[in-house]
């Protein structure tokens, strides 16, 4: 059977002709069946294609920014805007930030992998509201179009944070960009509502809350933040658009408004949004590390509850973005304390993952390589966050490259590493094909090394006083900037390699079995790729998600 399948390029058709139930990819045909699908798996794939496209665009913007910052190599230093003007530079870093945050990282894991795997992990036929799911996808596309439209009409140069009063006065097309983000927010809210209801109401018989895979718990916490924080961003951006179009003084001090109010509004969403970005990554890492350590996860309940704790405390730390904005000292002290408090549940997770690996029988596949890279990079990102959360240190480091390096270690080194790792872990289930393990590790190596070269040098630049967002710099910063740029090329090369072997796998990759990683959670118990309605018979759950058969319960220590 297998050799027969490998030789035939349209093997799935042959299989369905041979009496096997068609999978979700070939159950319906034609572009229209994709455009109007309410199948969560197809929507997950459509989101994935959209997100990866925007990821490539955002990456190219970043490489252009880094190339500009090489400084003029030929003919010595001096004029640094050698590639394009300072104005273009401002627009490029704004585009990089806005595209990466709103179109890539926020929807990355929830909208693509969450859509695909949440119902599968719950043993459900679909999410609770499949049509709403299709609508969120089109809302996402519409929001993306608005953002792209703003590029065509002169782009935005405010940075992704749209700080007032500059954003209410700059001549660039802030309104269409802001409307784009406003619309994208509704996609995020609707997805969040859908997931919460799905987790509450669609679990298979026997799938109790303590038997949920930790990816589901992480998605649950993420969805709570999506539903409760995003509307505040929406109303903020609406007020900003009204201020710009009608000259109303809500944020602009010249018209009688308060610019710090904008910062409060903005970060009330955007700090919890940081956890929208990172929590699904935590969920992915819990899955990859446990499945590949062949061991019961250490501290299941602690990891699950710490996700919820992060979601709750994460709502109360937004003021740490405003230590230098003139808020009261008492407020700063409280926000600083809460920022340290949010490190506790985060550390609980990291320690639990390390403890899960201890004494395990580790399978070092490429997904696991990405998970280990995540542990290293995210820990650096998290710990440098504590530097920035300390009141006195932040005065020195605020708005320098140290901040840039810190959030790239969390967002890029954390979320995107987890996202790419998750793609490797679940690729066989989504596509029915295996990825090249060799090239997977090569790609991971370039991503890891390139990333560290790019951003470790930026920590140094920041402590020496290099301010973020500047198109020019003093000559003494040039060497470190150039090292960082070389690192970014290596990082880009790593992703290019990954893209190439992923396409190769789609064309002629080895066929995947049902459960190549021998995992216990439900998504691995159905076919690869899954059939249209996910399971042949309604699954009934009798054990936890990580009770691997090879675990020797007679030697259990410490409650495992």
């Amino acid at each position: 059977m297998d050799s027969n399948r490998n030789s035939a390029p349209k093997s799935a058709h042959a299989a369905s002709a041979g009496g096997v139930e068609p999978n979700y990819l070939n159950a319906h045909k034609g572009i229209w069946s994709w455009m109007t699908t309410v199948d969560h798996k197809r929507l997950g794939i459509m989101y994935l294609v959209g997100i990866l496209t925007f990821f490539a665009a955002g990456g190219i913007f970043a490489l252009l920014v880094r190339t500009q910052l090489l400084g003029k190599i030929f003919g010595g230093p001096g004029k640094q805007d050698w590639l394009f003007s300072g104005d273009t530079y401002n627009k490029l870093f704004t585009l990089h930030g806005a595209v990466m945050v709103f179109l890539v990282i926020i929807p990355s894991i929830p909208a693509s992998l969450g859509n695909f795997f949440l119902p599968l992990m719950l043993g459900a036929k679909d999410v609770a509201f499949p049509k709403l799911n299709l609508m969120s996808f089109y809302v996402y596309v519409l929001g993306g179009c608005f953002l792209l439209f703003s590029i065509l009409t002169g782009a935005v140069d405010t940075g992704w944070t749209f700080y007032t009063p500059y954003s209410s006065t700059t001549s660039t097309s802030v309104v269409s960009a802001v409307m784009g983000v406003f619309i994208l927010g509704f996609s995020s809210i609707l997805t969040g509502v859908n997931f919460i209801v799905t987790i509450h109401k669609m679990r298979a018989p026997g799938l109790t809350w303590t038997r949920l895979p930790l990816f589901v718990w992480a998605q649950y916490a993420t969805s709570l933040i999506q539903v409760l924080a995003t509307p505040v961003l929406a109303i903020t951006l609406m007020l900003l658009a009204i201020e710009r179009t009608m000259g109303v003084g809500i944020f602009d001090p010249k018209l009688g408004g308060d610019p710090v109010l904008f910062q409060h509004f903005f970060w009330f969403y955007s700090h919890p949004a940081v956890y929208i970005m990172i929590l699904p990554g935590f969920g992915v890492i819990s899955e990859i590390i446990t499945v590949n350590s062949r061991k019961q996860i250490f501290g299941y309940k602690a990891i699950a509850m710490s996700s919820v704790a992060i979601a709750v405390i994460g709502f109360l730390v937004w003021g740490h973005h405003m230590f230098t904005s003139g808020q009261s000292e008492l407020a700063s002290a409280v926000f600083s304390f809460l920022t340290f408090a949010v490190a506790v549940p985060t550390a609980i997770k990291v320690f639990s993952w390390v403890a899960t690996m201890y004494g395990g029988s580790i399978r070092l596949n490429s997904a696991m390589c990405y998970a280990l890279a995540f542990l290293f990079l995210f820990t650096i990102g998290g710990l440098t966050g504590l530097f920035l959360g300390s009141l006195s240190v932040d005065i020195h480091l605020h708005d320098t490259y140290f901040v840039v390096a810190h959030f790239h270690y969390v967002m890029m080194g954390g979320t995107m590493t987890a996202f790419v790792g998750a793609l490797h872990h679940w690729w066989p289930k989504m596509t029915g094909r295996m990825l090249s393990e060799f090239w997977g590790k090569v790609g991971c190596f370039f991503v890891f090394v390139g990333f560290n070269i790019t951003f470790l040098s930026q920590f140094l630049l920041g402590t020496k006083g290099m301010p973020r967002r500047y198109a020019n710099y003093l000559p003494e910063f040039q060497t470190l900037h150039q090292i960082s740029t070389v690192g970014s090329y290596l990082l880009g090369l790593g992703f290019l390699i990954t893209l190439i072997y992923m396409i190769q796998s789609l064309i002629n990759g080895e066929k995947a079995s049902k459960n190549p990683w021998e995992a216990m959670s439900l998504e691995w118990q159905t076919d690869s790729p899954p059939i249209e309605h996910n399971f042949h018979v309604q699954p009934v759950v009798k054990h936890g998600p990580y009770e691997f058969p090879e675990i020797d319960h007679s030697l259990a220590r410490g409650g495992h």
Partner: protein
């Protein structure tokens, strides 16, 4: 109708009426999911409006004298009339849901129609108020026209920042009015579906959700009315 179906299904060993979507196991699951989804959406609505209420609070702290003087330019009688319209419409909406529970198509139909008309009456009054403000130049931001306002018999100089007061007034009532309009569109769709016989005591979660939505729109107005019209 529903009972007849369920008895047939029970005879077949499984209860699977035509309005039960393929991915749900039972009507209980489908209804509970629909309602939980709506409650989450309403939570989102509350946070959406909370931003506006915070902006209101700050502007009022900055310019208390403006709010005191400028609210005189709003007609509290029209605001009170609109409050009566919306409160009554919440009652008829609740009666419509009751109609679904007791399988009474006329109760559903006439009460939703009454709710729709009361919502329409609210919008008509709002239109009268808005056109008056437009005529007198009492508008947000740089559209605010003090000379025109004075010409139309309003106090010569409102202290502080009247342009901000009217920006807050138009943004809050405008966003609320948009929600009323969306509610009215949903009710038109409800009338079609009631007429088609879509709802019964077992299956009316859509009707109930529109009701929940309508109640929160009503509730937001109950906060807006005193905050804007009855400043002291």
């Amino acid at each position: 109708m529903g009972e007849q179906q369920s008895s047939q299904a029970a005879a077949a060993g499984q209860h699977h009426p035509k309005y039960l979507a393929h991915h749900f196991e039972s009507m209980e699951q489908q209804n509970a999911s629909g309602k939980l989804g709506m409650w989450l959406f309403l939570g989102q609505e509350v946070l959406f409006f909370s931003g506006l209420f915070l902006a209101y609070t700050l502007a009022r702290i900055f310019y208390p004298e403006t709010f005191l003087a400028a609210h005189e330019l709003l007609d509290w009688k029209l605001g009170a009339l609109n409050t009566i319209f919306l409160l009554t419409s919440s009652l008829t909406m609740a009666l419509a849901v009751r109609g679904a529970q007791i399988n009474s198509k006329p109760t559903m139909f006439w009460n939703i129609l009454a709710t729709l008309l009361l919502g329409g009456a609210f919008m008509v009054v709002k239109y009268i108020e808005y056109s008056h403000k437009f005529h007198d130049g009492l508008l947000p931001g740089h559209f605010f026209d003090a000379a025109k306002a004075m010409h139309n018999g309003h106090p010569a100089n409102i202290p502080g920042a009247p342009a901000i007061f009217f920006a807050i007034y138009f943004t809050m009532t405008g966003t609320h009015g948009l929600h009323v309009l969306i509610g009215m569109l949903l009710m038109l769709w409800l009338l079609v579906r009631i007429n088609r016989g879509d709802f019964n005591s077992e299956n009316h979660v859509f009707l109930e959700n529109v009701g929940l939505y309508w109640h929160i729109v009503d509730l937001i107005w109950i906060f807006l009315f005193p905050l804007l019209y009855l400043v002291r």
